[in-house]
Every structure is written in C-alpha cells, then in structure tokens.
C-alpha cells in the first residue's frame, strides 16, 4: 500500500515537474553551487536520515527531495504513454492493464487540475 502511494506521488511530481521550468534543476549548476545536500539529491548517499522539508513545490504538489532525482523512469514512461493515448483520442480503456488505467486516471486528474488553474 505504501509503495503504491509512493508510486502515485512520484507520478504526480513527475507530471508537474515536466510541465515546469527545469532550468534551475540542472545537476551541473546545482552541484557547482554546492546545493545537492540542501536540495536532498537522491544520488547523494546518507541523506535519508536527515529531516524532510519542502524542496520543490508547484500548485498543490510538494517534493521533499530533488524532484529530478526522485522521478522514476516508470513515471516518465507513463506520462509519454498518456500523451500518446490522448493524441490517439483517449479511447479504448478496456484493453489497459490495471496499473496503466490507474496511472492514466491520476494523470487525467492532474491535467484537469492544471487546466483549471490556468483558466483561473
């Protein structure tokens, strides 16, 4: 259950991070400024025991470690598949696996939230 929740959370962060300005999150500039520990980079060892705090936020989404290192390949693949599915008309949910349907439902909701906030 916890893994499931964490997977969904990562997917939501990935979706919003992908739609945001990522210029300030390049490893080369971040490390040159010595920010990797401060930003709780996932590639830096020994940070797990340190207290969590908000590192990145956009709308209702908050990441407690560097979103770039937090986002999994699976999340990005779901996002690509989701947009391909939308491009193809967004139909035929019957043939989807449970995991795919679940991921697409999360992304559909986040897309709707994003569109609503643009219109407001």
């Amino acid at each position: 259950m916890r893994t499931e929740r964490s997977r969904k959370k990562k997917l939501i962060i990935a979706f919003h991070f992908q739609s945001s300005d990522q210029a300030g999150w390049k490893c080369v500039t971040c490390r040159a400024a010595g920010l990797e520990r401060k930003r709780r980079c996932g590639f830096v060892k020994g940070l797990r025991d340190e207290p969590e705090r908000a590192i990145w936020a956009r709308k209702h989404v908050v990441a407690v470690s560097c979103p770039k290192s937090l986002i999994s390949a699976d999340s990005l693949a779901w996002i690509e598949e989701f947009y391909a599915w939308k491009l193809a008309g967004g139909i035929d949910c019957q043939t989807m696996s449970a995991r795919q349907a679940d991921a697409f439902a999360v992304l559909e909701r986040e897309l709707a939230t994003q569109r609503r906030s643009v219109n407001e």
Partner: protein
Amino acid sequence: MTMKSSLRLGEAMNYESRSRVGSKVRPEVTFTLRRMSVERRVDLTRRLRELLQKIEFLESGSNPRESMEAALVAAEVNQIYLSWGLAAIEGLEIDGQGATPESLISAGPEDLCREIIAAIRAECGLSEAERKN
C-alpha cells in the same frame, strides 16, 4: 492551394519500421536498426532514464571516482542502446559464427559497436551534446 500526392486512391503507404545502414568503419558489414515509434520510445525511457540521470549527476561532480563511475554507467547505457536498436547484422562473423546483436555486444569489434550506437542515437533524434553522454 491544392496538394498533389504520388499515391493513387486506394493505394497505401508502406512504412518500414527498420532501416538498413552500411558500415563506414567495416565496409563489408550492413546493420539493420529498429526505427523509433511511440511504444519503443516509452520502452527506451523505461530502460534508460534513470541511468542517464545518474550520468548527469556523476559528470557534474569534480571527484575522479565519480567520473569513473559515470564512464561505467555510460558503457551500460551504450549496451542498452545496442540491444534496443540493433535488429540484425550482416557481413560479419565472430569466431567463425555469423554475428548477432548479442554476440556483437559481447565479443564484436568496438569501432563497429561505436558506429552502430551513434547511428541508433541519431535515429532517436538525440542532439550531438546529448550523444556525448
């Protein structure tokens, strides 16, 4: 404005999902690459994303150990590109046996591997800077 098409009504366009390329470093060799598609792009993202991210992190550090680790991960990435993108290879034998993508990876000539990887990366639409990773 009217548009002309060479296709007649009822005629279908045939799209080749693979492309054959002649080697420049080993002129006797021809290799076949799988071309990019929506599904294959997703598959590549799944296989590579985390490794590419790790390379970006390691290469941005100043520690020599990290540079070495980055080179190791880069080699792993190249191996994934090869197994993902190379469909067939002709005109090459390795230890007396017709080469396959698997045998090329494990025992084939490095210069040919490098050439094929560059062709696969170009097929993926990666820029020169991205290809360097």
